[in-house]
Symmetry: C2
Subunit: 352 residues, 2 copies
Amino acid sequence: MNEMDAPHLAIVGATGAVGREAVTLLESRGTALQSLRLLASPRSAGSTIRFRGEPVTVEPLSRASFDGVDVAIFSAGGSISREFAPQAVRAGVTVIDNSSAFRMDPEVPLIVPEINGERLAEWPGAGIIANPNCSTIIALMAVTPLYRAAGIDRMVISTYQSASGAGAAAMAELEQQAREFVEGRPLTTKIIDRPYLFNVFSHNSPIGEDGYNEEERKLLRETHRIWVDDSVRITATCVRVPVLRSHCESINLTLRRPLPEARVREVLEGAPGVTVVDDRANNRFPEPRDASGRDEVLVGRIRADLSQPEGFGYDLFVAGDQLRKGAALNAVQILERLARSPMARSPKPAAS
Amino acid sequence: MNEMDAPHLAIVGATGAVGREAVTLLESRGTALQSLRLLASPRSAGSTIRFRGEPVTVEPLSRASFDGVDVAIFSAGGSISREFAPQAVRAGVTVIDNSSAFRMDPEVPLIVPEINGERLAEWPGAGIIANPNCSTIIALMAVTPLYRAAGIDRMVISTYQSASGAGAAAMAELEQQAREFVEGRPLTTKIIDRPYLFNVFSHNSPIGEDGYNEEERKLLRETHRIWVDDSVRITATCVRVPVLRSHCESINLTLRRPLPEARVREVLEGAPGVTVVDDRANNRFPEPRDASGRDEVLVGRIRADLSQPEGFGYDLFVAGDQLRKGAALNAVQILERLARSPMARSPKPAAS
């Protein structure tokens, strides 16, 4: 990436859990930028966030926020994206949207760079690129290489999702509940409407008539969209566990064509962005504490499913940092990929 | 049950998590007993546990402990059961064993009273009856009624298991880790060899060459034994979550014969020992906090699996108190059932 390609970047929702992680990643990765603008609600504006040694003042998000911006990462929820992303696009900005608002829009590419990043090679500039849902990204990082190697007939997924998916306030509430438990006080349940500490509960997203919640529906629909393959049969049960920031998923696969277990392991060991953690002797497998703060999705418990004909069934257990690969890292990777694309930067009416 | 049938009972492992729960249950249920003897390791002996208003002194377990005892509930681990249960049987005692030591012995009935309690009707007295593993009991309480109604071709289970399955010390360590987290101190990892608070990890039982751990293998083998049906295909992924005392399980079922969803719900609502908690509008489903201290296994997230032909696939999410139905309650129910059996009490050499 040369300096000519480095974009003027804005982050919408800069004070949220994903926004803050994005700032950290841009700094640690040394992502080339001409400038960084941090945007948030008027309530959060005015604070400063350090970036590359300088304090950056968080500005209130407005229609004028996108003047001179090339790319904006949105992570402030669906309603902010629905209102401001089209305005940003009209101002010539490429929006990388972390919300679910545009993920199923046929005009909007749904991108995991390691999986379908080649779709960005001819990005025309100005428009929306969607980041998939965290659970989808984390599952597909491990499963896509196997999908390519043998096809997937069916997936049964049960998730173990952390507080970070519900935002920084949910993480803080879980920590607060630990303090309250230790002090013998009643648990505060403002953000999550039930005790979360030492508890497990069905994912807090709306449930449709078919009984699936929105998180489960995302896993189904987004997988079909990313693979451009509606024929894969998927069911999912999405569950929150009292963990701060990484998601785990128990994934049962039925392949279309048989693969020996050694080959499954080989495929996963060669998968980009994936680290195999599968030490049976020492009972070391993917854990959210180990995945947190890491870029890679961890995969383990790799074994032939005894309930399936030989070579067709596999069980996996994955862990990935919801804030990194599940959200901010994926967005930053898209940003970096765009900067490498010759067509990424179109002429702008108001480029600074 | 009349007083003539009431047994002289011993509890082996009386100071452990399951033993203490058994004492609590015998008191709250008013289970008819002639006497109660509490047995534990020499280390734990000498303490007293209140039962029906009287302090009962915990005695050290020895060969002589079973004189005058009719029934003994063993919950002190496999090695104690292997050493002392045969001795107790030779002394004319009926052993209800909560360990895995004898579960696969073809001479030993493996009993969940609601499922196959009729096998006790002709119990000859003196011998071992095995309590299944907690995860097996909790899953089968919900699934057996559907197995009876439509047959089960295949089950894919992912568990969310609590600290109580690893014993009282593991529960105490998880609580201690909460204190240490709040105080900013390093987490103690004596009982579980890794941080448990805010973490998830693969079940800490030995792993075989096929990659399944012992807990998963129990679910497979014990289900086949309880149903007397090896044809059911099962895979399981057993995982510990930072919860104190109830297990959850995400269960994906493939039925042999199609059932409409309304009928699945009806079957579960009529199942003994099962309570349906399935409020989609308010996102209320089985949670370990709600299951703890309850006798029933909670079942919810009941929905047709979108990845299967209509009527053949269902997803369920269950929660059950590992110490109650998963262990102590099941043993006490077996005890109560034995006392109702006319043949349960054989002549004893040393009955007091």
